[in-house]
Symmetry: D2
Subunit: 428 residues, 4 copies
C-alpha cells in the first residue's frame, strides 16, 4: 500500500486539511514517477494501459477542467490542446486522443507536462487562498480530484509493470510488493450468520458515488477465508492441470484460456522447472507464501471451483470487513480439498486491504436508488455498470486513503494486469 | 406464444402425462419446420444462430445421449458420427463441429435427420413401454429433454428470422408475432411495497436448475410499468436522436453502437420516410402499438435512461408476476418524460408472458447455494454465469410451457436477434 | 478434365457451332450438379467459395445481363431481384449480396433457379432463331458467356470439395481426380534455348482479354521438368521438416504458415502414420504417383527452393507448351537433391493440361498494350491485376475447351483450395 | 535528398574511402536524430514503422553481427541482450522482439544505445586499423552495412513523420521536403523506341543483390512523362470524385479504400475548404506544384487510369533514367484528359531522384538467375519477393548515395507512409 509522508487516518477530513492532502497527493504522483526515465514515461504497454506521462497530465487536466476552469475567476487554461490529449473518456467534455494511441504522444513533452503540473498546482494554491468552504461544491470537486489522482497513482504502477514485463530486459521499478501471508501456517474459514445488513458508504468522509446509496440487503449465512489464496496454493491448481480441465471453467473463461494460451497467472514464467514471476522488482522466484496476483475473474472462479468453494459476493466481503465473526473453521493451506472439518476456533479475516484486490462473484451494477451525478463527472462510474465484476479491498499499489470497506473496484472478467487475487467463501 | 394442440396448464405433470407431452413436443418441432424448404433448414444465418436441421437433430441427440444410451438396455446408437455433428457445447461428452460451421453440414441430409428423429421416437416409445416411475432419474432426464427441445423450438424461429432478414428477398415464414398492447390507451406504473420476498422455483413441476434454490431476498419499494415499451415509444427515442446522445448510453453500449452502426432496433428499416420491420411474416409496416423487439440490453438501458426510468431487477419482475400491486401511477404512453403524476388507479402488469422477453438490470449469476448438477448436464446453465443479463417472461415464439414467473433466460448485452424488449421500472 | 459429350477440338468455332457449344455447356453445369442434394447446393464452405446453386444462377444471370437484356428485343427479365442476388463483382451493374453471405440465399429456391435456367435457355434458343452473325458483338458476348460458365463449372467442383472437406462425414462427390504420373519412373529436365518469343493468344478462336495483346518477349535459356511435382516428392519435403525451416520460405509465406498452422498441403491428414487426402471421391490414401494439389504459391515456392530449383515464369511455361525441346536432363524423382547430371535424352513436358494448375513465378499483370474492354465486362479480368500470381495449364476439373497454352489463371499466393500444383524449372 | 557533409559522387569507391563513408554515414544518423527528444525516439507510430532509437541501435547491431563479431578477433559483444531487442527479421540469427512491440523498448535507454554506437564505432575504427583489403569479404560486409544504415536513415524520417502525423499537436521535424516542379509550366511525354535493353546493375560500385544479375530484356516503344504527378494534378482527381468511382480502381484498391475510408492521399486534410498536408515541417498548405506523395499503389494506378495513361514498368523507368529520349509530347498539366497532341519538342525526364519514390507497374520479383547470398544476409532482399511492387528513383529523404538507376525499392500496394508518388507512362 502506497504510503504518504504524513499519516492519514480513515476519516480523512477530520485529521488533515483538504489542502494538505491535495499537496501530498500531487507530490506523491511525482515521487512515484521518479524511478522512471522520460522514455519509460511515454510508452504504452497495451491498449488497457496508459503511459506514466499521460497519467501525470490527465490527473492535472482533471483539476483544471472540473475545478479551476469552471470555478476560479480569471484562471488561464495552460494549453487548449491538452484537452484533446488528456481527456480520458468524458464524452460531454469533447473528443480525445484514441485510447490505444496514447503512446504516440511524445509531445507535449515530459517537460511541458511538468510545467503543466506546476501551473495547475500554483493555481490550486491560489484557489485555496481565495477561501474555500469545505461544504461547498468546490471542495467536493477537489476531493474527487484527489481521489481520482490516487486511482491513477495505482494505474501508474500497474501500467509500468505491464510495460516492463513486455520488455525483454525485464527491468525493475522497485517497491512495492504484496506482503507474504505470515500470520499463521494454517488458514481458517470465518463464519457469519448473515441477516439484513446495511451495505454502502454512509459516513462523513469521501466516497465514490457508486458506493451508495447505503441500503439494506439480505445476507445468507456464509464463511469467508481468513486470508487470500497464495501463490503456493495456486501453483497446486496449475500442477493439478487446472488449466486443462474444461469442467472447472466458465464457458467464456475456457474460450479465453484457449484463445490467449493461458497456462498460469499473468507474469508467471517457468524456466528450468523453476517458477518465476515478473514483479515491480523485476523477475523474482515465485514466493509461495505471498498472495497470488494477476489472475482474471475466470481463473479466480475456476480455482474456487477446484477448491470446492466459491468467490464471496461483494456484500459478504463488505460485512466481513466490518464485523466480528461468529466462528471459524480450520482451513489448512495444504489441504484445500477436501474441506476441513468445522472448528470453533475464532479468528478474523486478514490482509483485506493492501495486498491484492479480491475478485467477488458480484457483477458491477448500481445499488438501489443509484443515480450518477449530473454533468460530465456523472460519467465517472455509472457508465461502466455492465459486463464487469466488483473487486474489493485494495492492493499493494493502492493509495492508503482508498482502504475502505465499501470501496468498489471493477474490471472485466478477462483482465489480469492489475494486482488481482482472490479469497475463498462458502455457504453455511 | 407457440400453442400445442392440447391445452397444457401451468402444473404440467398434473394434467398431462410425461409421455403425452413428449409426443406433443416432438411433433411440434416438426410442425414448426413445415413452412421451410430443405435449403432453408441447412443454412446458418450467423455465428450465434443455428440451422433448423441442426436444431432438429441436436434435440434428438440430446434424448439419445442423456436418456436412451445410458438408460435403455439394448438401445442402438443411430449413427456414431452424429455425436460430433450435433453436440452443442457439452465438453464432457466430446469434441464437436465448431459452432460457426454448423451451416456446412449439408450431410447428414434432412432425410437422415428425419430418420434419426423417427428412430429415437420409436425408441422413446419403447422406453415408456418398459415402465417408468415418474419420480426416477429417467423421468427427470426426459423432462429436461422436453424442456430442452422446447427451448430449441424458440431458437428455430428466431434463427429463421435472422436467416430471412439476411436474405434480400425478405421471405415470410408466417405466424407468430408479438401481440399489440390493446388493453388501454394509457399505461400505469404499478407500485410494490417490497420487503423480504421468496425468489426462485419451489413448486413440484419442472424448473431449470438455475431457477433455484428458492431463497429470500430483500426488495426495496418499486414501481413497474403495466406493459412493455412499444415500437411507437421506441420510435420517439430514435427520432429524439437517442442513438446520437452518448450521455444516454453505457460505455460498452456506445462502443457497440459505433462499431456496428446501430441506428434503430435490429430488423428496422427506414424507406421513403416510412419505418418498416422485418418479421416472421416478412417486411411489414412498423406497428406502433406492438411491443418493441430485437433491442440489445444496451438499447433497453439507454431507452430507460432517456425515459427517466430504469430496467427492473429480475427479482422485482418475479414478484410482480406473482402478486397483486398496492397502487398504480398513470403512465401516459405519449408523455414518457416528464414522469406522470402519481395516481391511485389500480391495475396489473400485462403481457408479462408471450410477447417479448424483457431485459432486466440483473446480471445472470447463481442464486445463493446454487450448484450445477453432476455430469455433462451440469454444463446446461451453470457455465454461462458471467457477462450476461437475465431476461424474464417469454416471447411470442416461446413454447407455452415455459411461461413461468421464475424462468431465467440470459443473453449477452450486445445480442439482439431474439424477441427481446423491455418494461420500465422506477424506485419509490 | 471435364469431358463434354461431343468432341471439341482446339479451334472451337470451326468444328462446332456456337449454338451447340452453348447448349452443351448449359447442360454440363446441370450434369455436374446432379450428384448433389438441394442442401449441398445452398451451402457456402468459406468466403472464397460459393454455393453450387449460386454458380448455376450466376452463370445464367451473366447471359441474361450481358446478352439477352441488352440485345434481344422484348426479352423479359425473369426476376428483377436476381440481379442483387447473383451479381458477383460487377460494380457497374449495381449492388449485390455480399460475397461471404451467399450461403444465406436459401431463397430463391433451387427450383426457382432451375426455372431461371430454363427461362434463359429458351430465350437464348429464340435469340439464335433471330439469326446471329458469328462476327458480331452478340456472338462475342455469347462466347464470353460460355467460357464464363465453364470457369464456374470448375469452381463448382473446387467449392464442393471445400464443402465436403469441412464436413466431418467427408462425403464423396465422385470423379474426377488428377491422373497419376505413369509415363515413366524417372523425370527429365527439358532444355530450351530461349530468345525473343511470341507470347499471348493470336488465333481465331476465343481467348480472354488478358491473354493478349500477343507480343514479343525475351526468354533466357531455361529447363523445365517434364512432369508436375508428385505427392510422393512433396511428402519428402514434409518429412524433411520443410514446414519448419524458415530459410526455405518467403517472408509472407512463413507468416501464413505460422498464422494458419500449415503442416502439409490442404486436405492432407495424417492418421496412425498413414497419409490420407480428402478428394472429390472422399478420403483416400495419398497416392504418391499423382501430382500434388492444393498447395499455395508459398508452398510451391518453398518446395522449389528446397529442391534447388525454382518455379517457371508464365512465359517459359507457355513456350514449353508450344514447342519442341532442345535437350533433356534426367530428373530422378527419387533424388531431387542434389541436381541430377545433365543428360542428352530428349523428352517433352507431360501433363501440362488436365491434372493441376501450375503456379508460375510471374505476377498477374497486364501484357504490354493491354486495355480492358469497355463496360462492365471490362471488370472481368483487368481489375484483379495486382497481388496475384499466374497459374498455367488446367486441372482435372477444368473444362476441356480451356486447355490453351496462353490461358492465364490467377490466384492470391495464400490460396490453396483450387487444384493447384507446380512444376520445377531452372536457369541454364 | 539527404546531403552528407562531404560531396559524394556517383562512383562511391573512387572518390571516397570506405572508412570515410562509414564515418559519415554513422554521423549522419546521429545528426538526423538531433531534432528529436528522447521521448520522440522511443515511440512507435504504427506496426510498419519503428522508433528512431530502434533504428539507431539496429543499424549498429547490423555492423556488430555481420562485421565485427564474425571477423574481428577479440571483439567483445556490447550486450548479449541487444540481439533479441534489435534484430529485425533475420530468422537465421535468432528470435527477436515482435515488430509491433518495438515501442515498448524504453530500455535499453537512449543513453545505452548511444554508448552502443560509440562502442561499435570505436571497434570499427580499430578494425580498419588492422588493415582491410577493399576486395575482401569484410569490405563487402562493411559496404552492405553502410548502405543498410542509409536505408534506415530514410525510414527514420518517414517513421517520424508517421509519428508526428498521429500526434494531435502536429509537430514539425524540419527539413527536408520534396521540391516543387519548377522547370516549366507544361509537361511533356518523352518517347522511347524500346528494343532489347540491358537491365540491372553492372558497375563496380555497390549495389544490392536484387539489382542483379544484369540481363537483357525486351522493351516495347513507350513514352514517359518528364515529371512526377503533382499535388495540383492529384487534387483534380480528388475533386473529380476519383475516390468514388469504382471503375477507376483495382478490385483490391477499391476494397482498401472502403475499408480504410480513404478520400485523399495520406496526410492530406481539408479544413474550411483549404487543403493542407502534414509534412516534416508540420501542417502546411498543400503546394500544388510539388510532387504528390504518400499515395498507395492503388491510388497511383487509379490516378493513371483516370488520366488515360498507365504506370511505367520498372524497366522502362530504368532505361529512361539512363538514355536520351527520341521525342517528346506536350503534357499540359492542366489538361491531363484528353491526351495532348503529340509534339516534336524534345526534353528529358526530370526529378527522377530525390523527390518521391515512383510506383511502377512491376511486381517485385527476382531477375533471371537471381540467387540470394548465402547466410543470414541472404534474407535481406530475396525473401520479400512476393506481393509487393517496385518503386524507382528516390525521395527527398533518401540518402544521396542511393540515387541509382538500377535501385529497386519495394512496398505492398496498400502502403502509403513512405514518400511515394508516381509518373505517367503510355504505350506508343
Amino acid at each position: 500500500m502506497i504510503q504518504l509522508a504524513s499519516d492519514i487516518n480513515s476519516d480523512q477530513r477530520a485529521s488533515s486539511s483538504l489542502r494538505t492532502r491535495l499537496l501530498e497527493t500531487r507530490q506523491l504522483s511525482v515521487k512515484l514517477a521518479a524511478p522512471l526515465t522520460a522514455e519509460d514515461m511515454v510508452a504504452q504497454a497495451m491498449d488497457d494501459a496508459s503511459p506514466t506521462k499521460w497519467h501525470l497530465a490527465h490527473a492535472t487536466w482533471f483539476f483544471e477542467t472540473f475545478v479551476l476552469a469552471p470555478r476560479m475567476p480569471g484562471y488561464a487554461i495552460f494549453d487548449e490542446s491538452f484537452g484533446y490529449c488528456f481527456n480520458s473518456y468524458y464524452e460531454q467534455v469533447g473528443p480525445r486522443q484514441p485510447r490505444p494511441k496514447r503512446g504516440v504522444l511524445t509531445r507535449p513533452s515530459l517537460e511541458s507536462v511538468r510545467a503543466y503540473r506546476e501551473h495547475v498546482d500554483v493555481a490550486l494554491e491560489a484557489f485555496f487562498a481565495l477561501g474555500l468552504d469545505e461544504d461547498d461544491a468546490a471542495a467536493s470537486a477537489l476531493e474527487i480530484g484527489i481521489n481520482h489522482e490516487q486511482q491513477h497513482q495505482e494505474l501508474m504502477l500497474t501500467d509500468v509493470l505491464a510495460l516492463f514485463a513486455a520488455n525483454p530486459l525485464r527491468p525493475s521499478y522497485g517497491q512495492p510488493q504484496p506482503q507474504k501471508v505470515t500470520a499463521a501456517k494454517r488458514g481458517w474459514m470465518i463464519e457469519y450468520a448473515g441477516g439484513v445488513e446495511r451495505i454502502g458508504y454512509a459516513g462523513q468522509g469521501f466516497a465514490w458515488d457508486n458506493e451508495g446509496p447505503a441500503h439494506e440487503t439480505l445476507i445468507h449465512p456464509f464463511a469467508l477465508a481468513d486470508r487470500a489464496v497464495t501463490n503456493g496454493q495456486f501453483l497446486e491448481f496449475v500442477l493439478d492441470k487446472g488449466y486443462e480441465a474444461a469442467s472447472l471453467w466458465l464457458s467464456d473463461g475456457w474460450a479465453a484460456l484457449n484463445r490467449e494460451g493461458w497456462r498460469a497467472p499473468l507474469y508467471w514464467e517457468q524456466r528450468d522447472d523453476e517458477w518465476r514471476a515478473m514483479t515491480l522488482q523485476g523477475m523474482t522466484r515465485l514466493d509461495p507464501a505471498a498472495p497470488v496476483a494477476h489472475v482474471s475473474y475466470y481463473e479466480a472462479d475456476a480455482f474456487a471451483r477446484w477448491a470446492g468453494r466459491r468467490l464471496p459476493t461483494e456484500f459478504e466481503w463488505e460485512i466481513a470487513a466490518r464485523r466480528a465473526p461468529e466462528a471459524a473453521n480450520d482451513l489448512s493451506s495444504g489441504a484445500l480439498r477436501p474441506l476441513p472439518a468445522p472448528s470453533s476456533v475464532a479468528g478474523a479475516p486478514r490482509q483485506m486491504f493492501g495486498d491484492v484486490w479480491e475478485w467477488t462473484g458480484s457483477a458491477y451494477l448500481p445499488y438501489p436508488g443509484y443515480r450518477p451525478p449530473l454533468g460530465a463527472l456523472g460519467e465517472y462510474n455509472g457508465k461502466f455498470m455492465v459486463g464487469q465484476h466488483v473487486l474489493r479491498g485494495g492492493s499493494c499499489v493502492t493509495p492508503k486513503g482508498h482502504a475502505r470497506a465499501t470501496y468498489r473496484n471493477f474490471f472485466y472478467p478477462h483482465q489480469r494486469w492489475q494486482f488481482m487475487g482472490l479469497r475463498l467463501a462458502e455457504d453455511l
